[in-house]
Symmetry: C2
């Protein structure tokens, strides 16, 4: 029985059992693990995502990158500043559209991305270390559905 209300149970324990609370905890743990893993490279999670997006969709404008990754344009500026300073991407004006910057991956960027992928995988392995492989698979599948920001279709 996992009834939502059990008045006898301590209130704080109930909160600590809520998915929202657990998700916050687990996400924090993941952020910490990834932060430590990426510390060598001086990068963080958003850098990894943007670098990967640049690798995927080739030389591309910042706005398209933002649409792809879901990052705010404001934040994209900072992320790309960091990546550019680390010589992992180049940012050059687009001759065909003078509003745009063309973001392209450098050779260093590609190799760094490979390192980040390995480090990220390792951190995620540590994150799910408490689960068996089968449980991990199941957990990720369920988590993916929870993470999906799907509109509650009003069933037209």
């Amino acid at each position: 029985m996992t009834e939502p209300s059990e008045p006898d149970e301590p209130a704080l324990d109930r909160i600590r059992a809520l998915p929202s609370w657990l998700l916050n905890r687990a996400a924090g743990r993941g952020r910490r693990l990834l932060g430590e893993a990426f510390a060598h490279e001086g990068l963080r999670m958003p850098h990894h995502a943007v670098l990967a997006a640049v690798a995927d969709i080739g030389p591309v404008a910042q706005a398209a990158l933002g649409r792809e990754t879901g990052f705010d344009p404001k934040d994209m500026v900072g992320i790309l500043n960091d990546l550019q300073r680390a010589l992992l991407v180049t940012r050059t004006p687009d001759p065909h559209d003078r509003r745009k910057n063309v973001i392209a991956l450098t050779a260093e960027g590609r190799s760094c991305l490979e390192r980040l992928a390995l480090l990220g995988d390792e951190a995620n392995r540590a994150l799910l270390a408490a689960l068996t492989p089968a449980e991990r698979e199941q957990f990720v599948a369920l988590l993916a559905r929870v993470a999906e920001e799907r509109e509650e279709g009003p069933v037209v």
Copy 2:
């Protein structure tokens, strides 16, 4: 096969499938849902937790409250300022130990806590709406184990 490295797969899609990424997304969604649910009361998640802790361990000092909930003393001050201003708790000097404040729940605090519990449950129901009841139970069980910050016993 959920091998950690599949070079052909787009890099960003791989990142988006990482537990750390999904946890961040799902936690953000939960925070947003809870934030909207608690907006009426003018409170947020930490307020809920602290209010619940006060209800659980009766009139109690701030430090004990911090140990119970895991919140930083600095943040506890702000949270209690809010709760006190909303007349949900009282904060009075402890006669037996003039260092301490005695935090006690008011009648309004108790009824507000009940409302928050209902709102929290509802938000969490929306958060896990994509899952069947059986999946929900399984997900929460797995998530709880992932959220646990257990030391990797070095097997002494």
